[in-house]
Amino acid sequence: MSALLEIDDLRVTFGGTAAVRGISLTVEKGETHCLVGESGCGKSVTSLAVMGLLAKGGKREAARLSFAGEDIREYDEKRMSRLRGDRMAMIFQEPMTSLNPAYTVGSQMTEVLRRHRGTPRAQAVDRAVELLTRVGITAPGLRLGQFPHQLSGGLRQRVMIAMALMCDPELLIADEPTTALDVTVQAQILRLLAELQKDLGLGILLITHDLGIVARVADRVSVMYAGEVVESAPTAELFRAPRHPYTRGLLSCVPVPGKVKRGDPLGSIPGVVPRIPPGFSGCGFRDRCSFAEAACAGPLPRRDVGPAHEALCILPEGVPA
């Protein structure tokens, strides 16, 4: 059986600038795949490219882009829009601005069902109430009649999730869903997502910059840097034995209680995230990497460095553990 979402050699360019430079990943049914990286690495663009939601001027190319076994590369806007919101749904970072301020929560939720299933209004409202309850909202009837600005950020993100689930999608793409929220609310929302996934068998592609989130919710991780996936592995494996110098560096930057003593310096990566000019080749990390050598400017091998563990690096075994 094929995976729910298969991406092979996806490239996205805006004008002459490459935002995504050939990434591959798969999301299995019932699996959470985390795409992690720093700002500007192309992780959000990847998710938008999958949904066919790239901003004007964005061009997408891929060797393979299939959803539930169907090749969606050649789907036109009309066919994609039939898929979006129905079988594949998406939630975004900013719950404050992602809901239309002019319409009630109820109106925005029910229009999904009405569009994709032609469900009559009353039944759509019932479904909305059911889902609002499911995402832990205590007074669903009241909330349906309210406008987005009357809700807190956490509630809005719950509404976004409920709205995404209206048509029982198979795939949920979540782009930094908790970045704008407070820590306590973040934990609640992530817990909710994990629960929903177990109950509904959702495949989730979660985009985040936060390694803490990755460690706690992901089944599989792909680390992105400068438009490429530099390392991909099952979560436990990645945190136990990071093989790419960037992953290694990133992990050492995060303060972990008990690991780094208070006052001791954190590990850090020197330099800044580079701009990738058109026609750039080789490893995007080489300027900041302590293992860099001349070969890093050439084509890079993608190697197996462990069980289901790949790294994009010239070091044959990755960074020595």
Binding site: E38, S39, G136, I137, T138, S152, G153, G154, L155, R158, D182, V183, T184, V185, Q186, A187, Q188, L190, R191, A194, H209, D210, L211, G212, I213, V214, A215, R216, V217, T235, A236, F239, R240, G249, L250, L251, S252, C253, V254, P255, V256, P257, V260, R262, G263, P265, L266, G267, S268, I269, P270, V272, V273
Partner: protein, 317 residues
Amino acid sequence: MSTPAIEVRGLRREFRASQGLFAAPRRVVAVDDVSFSVPAGSVLGVVGESGCGKTTLARMILGLMEPSAGEVLVDGKRLDGMDRRARARLIQPVFQDPFSSLNPRRRVSDIIAMPLVAQSNVTTSEVNRRVAESLERVGLSTEQGTRFPSQLSGGQRQRVAIARALVLRPRIVVCDEPTSALDVSVQAQILNLLAELRRDLGLTYLFISHNLAVVEHVASEVAVMYLGRIVEKRESEALFRDPRHPYTRALLDSVLTPEPGLGVPDVGLGDIMPDPANIPPGCRFHPRCPACFAPCAATTPRITSLEDGLVECHLAG
């Protein structure tokens, strides 16, 4: 005992918040009767969620905002009525967003020189010397000093902000979310720099952050704010080892450390959010508190002193 670097007594700040076009503005108490002191050379971390009043507190301590009641003492001297130049020599800020904390129309060296120029008794050559020294201290080159902020990356800009804060050699630096706008790899660089500077220059920090892992890493003492009150303030290690306030516990529980396999914890706070314009009676945390019992809704808890700090909770008595 030496004078505390910062001392705050009964500090309170109210706002009139507009509630849409048609409603009368409501009174919002952002900081409500807060008292504490920060010993010289230490780092007080202030944590809390958005809207808890931590930024208002910082702005009052910096003299950017008048308190509605109470007073701030910096290095033993009252802040109100202090000459703005004298204040600048004592206490300086580092703000969250390095994109809005630097004037886009001035060169980096001019930005760093500003506090010196404002002193108006420093010669040009002295200004240049001190600016060069500051640049070097934060790890920027002289060449970078001639650039405009837009030509620098986020981390470099934050270094400029730190250089500006240090050029007068102040004793205290108020860091308001200094790394929240930065990427993880850059955040570590800045945290290391701040730690190094504190050691070398003997600075005192008031370090405000919503990121508990960061605060744990830098702070010697931590104050937890909730809806304008400090609900728990204790030595850092003690607080992280054994939180006494249910809110602190919830905050600690919701920190997701990069340790695979632990799953997402249940913080058990429900879906009611705190609203500074509508503070509940009794303990202001009780509607969300998993350990709430009868007196919580009725009476305001008293501050209980512990051997390593204080806590404001009915359960702590």
